[in-house]
């Protein structure tokens, strides 16, 4: 049994796979939402001047 586990690594149960997938989706959605939020905040705080700055 030990040799079998060593060759396969850690084997996840269906429940663990499902919860990991749910966590990944939640993290993805949170990061996407934050990107949009920080984009909107940047536009509001800097305004149209965001494109008008010396290089």
């Amino acid at each position: 049994m030990d040799a079998d586990r060593d060759s396969k690594g850690v084997v996840l149960t269906p429940e663990q796979i499902k919860s990991r997938r749910q966590r990944n989706i939640a993290i993805g959605l949170a990061v996407g939402f934050l990107v949009l939020l920080f984009y909107a905040v940047t536009i509001v705080k800097v305004g149209p001047g965001v494109l008008n700055r010396p290089l």
Binding site: V10, S19, R23, I25
Partner: protein, 313 residues
């Protein structure tokens, strides 16, 4: 990848976490968060100047996440107490869904992120106040006061009362008398709210070793203190009208609600035995939630109405 030591796993083999996003949301204490959002929003809208909707939304989100981080850190530290209390034994850490160190990392990350975000989006004063709120709740209340004095929720209540001040500071960069009055209302509301519940759950708190007022000073002293705080609260509740930042409608509402609050506290004081005593305490506990909600909802709706009519004019 997250690992949780599970009692059923083989020795030396790390079990993979089966925690769902719902468990992490539970760590944030969503019901407390909703109250924080509500009171902070009221503080934010009390600001005399216009607040941009995006900035206001982002500020509220940062305040809410900061409150959630406090909840996660509280659950991490109090996992031993939570495990022996019926009300809290199903929380993610005692239920074995999230490991303690994971909750600690989750809470710390969110706390730092929330404070930095509020500093960038709003201003440094609001960020400093949010950081102080988190520190006060986690270190002063959870780690120190909760297990050492029956005045735990009196002093610790300051953390729950700060969100309107943080909201106001996020909008204006300063603290006003109006925001301090909202702080005072929540601060004085907290003891009768929690002690009403503690009267009913005193045995549980005793088993967990938490020195709540009924366990240390006795039920009768607690009933007297509830009554005194209720009287002060009823007076404080009317201050927004007296100071001129709420209408006569608010003034009447606060008078009616304050009278009912005192009436229920009087019943708790008088009825001391049996099931009816517990019913009286739970009635006061339930009404206290409605009391705070209605007062802040009235303040909020008056402000929204004023902004809407000003906008239409």
């Amino acid at each position: 990848m997250t690992f949780v030591e599970q009692s059923g796993s083989l020795p030396g083999i790390a079990a993979i976490s089966a925690a769902s996003p719902r468990d992490y949301i539970a760590l944030l204490k969503p019901r407390v968060m909703s109250l924080v959002i509500f009171t902070a929003f009221t503080g934010l809208l009390l600001a005399p100047q216009h607040v941009n909707a995006v900035i206001g939304f982002a500020s509220l989100l940062a305040i809410a996440v900061g409150a959630g981080a406090s909840g996660a850190l509280n659950m991490w530290y109090d996992a031993d107490i939570d495990a022996v209390m019926r009300r809290t034994c199903r929380r993610p850490i005692p239920a074995g869904k999230v490991a303690g160190r994971e909750a600690l990392a989750f809470g710390l990350t969110l706390a730092i992120f929330a404070v930095l975000t509020l500093g960038l989006v709003a201003n440094l004063l609001a960020a400093a106040l949010l950081a102080f709120t988190i520190f006060f709740y986690v270190v002063i209340y959870t780690m120190w006061l909760k297990r050492s004095t029956p005045q735990n929720i009196v002093i610790g209540g300051a953390a729950g009362a700060l969100p309107p001040i943080v909201g106001y500071a996020a909008a204006t960069g300063e603290v006003s008398l109006a925001a301090l009055v909202l702080f005072a209302i929540i601060f004085v509301w907290t003891p009768p709210h929690f002690w009403a519940l503690a009267l009913v759950r005193s045995a549980e708190y005793g088993r967990a070793g938490v020195p709540m007022m009924p366990n240390v000073k006795g039920a009768d002293r607690t009933r007297l203190e509830i009554l005194i705080y209720s009287l002060v609260l009823a007076l404080l509740g009317g201050l927004p009208f007296v100071l001129g930042f709420a209408s006569l409608v608010y003034g009447c509402l606060s008078a009616v609600l304050g009278t009912i609050f005192i009436g229920l506290a009087l019943r708790v004081y008088r009825v001391r035995d049996g099931d009816s005593a517990n019913k009286c305490a739970m009635r006061l506990f339930g009404f206290s939630i409605l009391y705070l909600f209605l007062l802040f909802a009235e303040l909020l709706s008056e402000r929204v109405l004023a902004l809407a009519t000003g906008f239409l004019r």
